[in-house]
Amino acid sequence: MTRVLVLHLAVLAGLAALGAVLPAYHHGMMARILMLAVYAIGYNIAFGYTGLLSLGHAMFLGAGMMAAGLWVQQGGSAAAALGLGALAGLGAATLTGVLALRTAGVSFMIVTLMFAQAFYLTLLYFGAITGGDEGFPLPAAGRQLMGLDLSQDGPRYAVALAIFAVALLVQLALVRSRFGRTLVAMRENEERSRMLGYNPFTTKLAALAISGLFSGVAGAGYGLLFGYVGASFATIQYSILPMLYVLLGGAGTTLGPLLGAVLMFYLIDTASSLTELSLAVIGAALLFLVLFAPKGILGTLRDRGIRWLP
């Protein structure tokens, strides 16, 4: 346990040090990546640990972001907005789960995709409130968190790192708990789990709800840190991205979401500065991963000897 904890704290310390030395451009990028990594951690809990292949997580991200954005727009505080985002993500995921978890496999993918798409269209339909595809900027007054001005580079990075740190450590505690073991058990052999007395439906629903909570926090955090919310974050593209991050970094590893988010973000950023076809790059990356490195970087390392990697 200590070895594992030291590794995670070292990663967090490394990120803190990075905050001190990075040039402004990468500073903002890293803050963005940290929020996406929180989102990917949420995705990892459902997909990586529990084996739920969802194509609808953009709904949870978007719900958290929109709830936080509307709250702040109405003059609410940023701290409460984060909590509200968490609740929105949790609620959206629970609702989705209650209906979608009646299915499994490909049907589950399709149902979650359709839910997210319906949510996206709803955001567009109520464009007068949500700003539709354009979205809306958040007022500067609402972007103050515990005396920190989130529109400034330094505080923004610090808050992003704080949210990420909490997410990472909560994930670690979760997957190493008895409940975390039952999630993995559900992924590995659902029938066996059922015959050990675990209720597959409620176990998976809990996993999805927690996953939605992380996604909602990520959405709210992203909106608050960058002062903008919009329906574009609820598109299918944002359901695919966390899957890519997790697959690249290593599904079912605690640090995979961060590693995958960093690498994939810079890959797509570089690719889109070279070509118009950034979506094609995403597709190619997905294909490559599924075909040649299904366990991702950390999953492969774990298989090749670093067995203690959580």
């Binding site: 008895r178 993995v184 058990a185 052999n189 029938e191 015959m195 050990l196 007395g197 209720n199």
Partner: protein, 241 residues
Amino acid sequence: MAAVTLLEARGLTRSFGGLRAVDHVDFTLNSGEIHALIGPNGAGKTTFVSLLSGRLQPDAGQIRFDGADVTRLPAHARVAQGIAYTFQITSIYAGLTVADNLALAVQRHPTRDLAGETARAAARVGLGDHLGQVAGLLSYGHQRLLEIGMGLALRPRLLILDEPTQGLANKEIEGFTALIRSLLPETTVLLIEHNMDVVMALADRITVLNFGKVLASGAPAEIRANRAVQDAYLGGHHAAD
């Protein structure tokens, strides 16, 4: 002392397409007994115990466990009530360690010492030295023992074992027989078994299934002397002749 009924099935029926795998079976299990279920391949033994454990739903009939109707209860809820099932075709978490496999069963009951209890559960089935091994890499016999160990770790009131000794070496079978005896009387055992030596060594009562129907039920000596059973199952040698 009058026998206390732990489980009772009435008119239990289940078909697959046109085939009646289990056909109006009445069955009583006494508390604290070892009850063997025997019969030729395809007789419906696995289907019958799957109905009891809730893995399958019956087309007709009723199951009572400890006085309560459990016919419509989902499998996981029956396990929580104390009905444990070990699979005929080994079903373990192949990608997880032996320790994690067993811990998943042990942690069904509140415990402060999960690691200690898990180690004891492993030692019980002779896997004490294999805790850190990935279960899928164990030998077949050890995987069978792990499967049994998981069932035991649930501390069930009724343990259903579906051909547990299949694939075990003779020495392992001896250990298994002793282990099952040590469970009495807290645990009632329903044992599907082809090895007649194991059946005769363990069973208090035997039920014979054939073509989904109960052919005979009674003490081992009665079953051995039963002509219909000999014709159907024991190879046609009439011991009484």
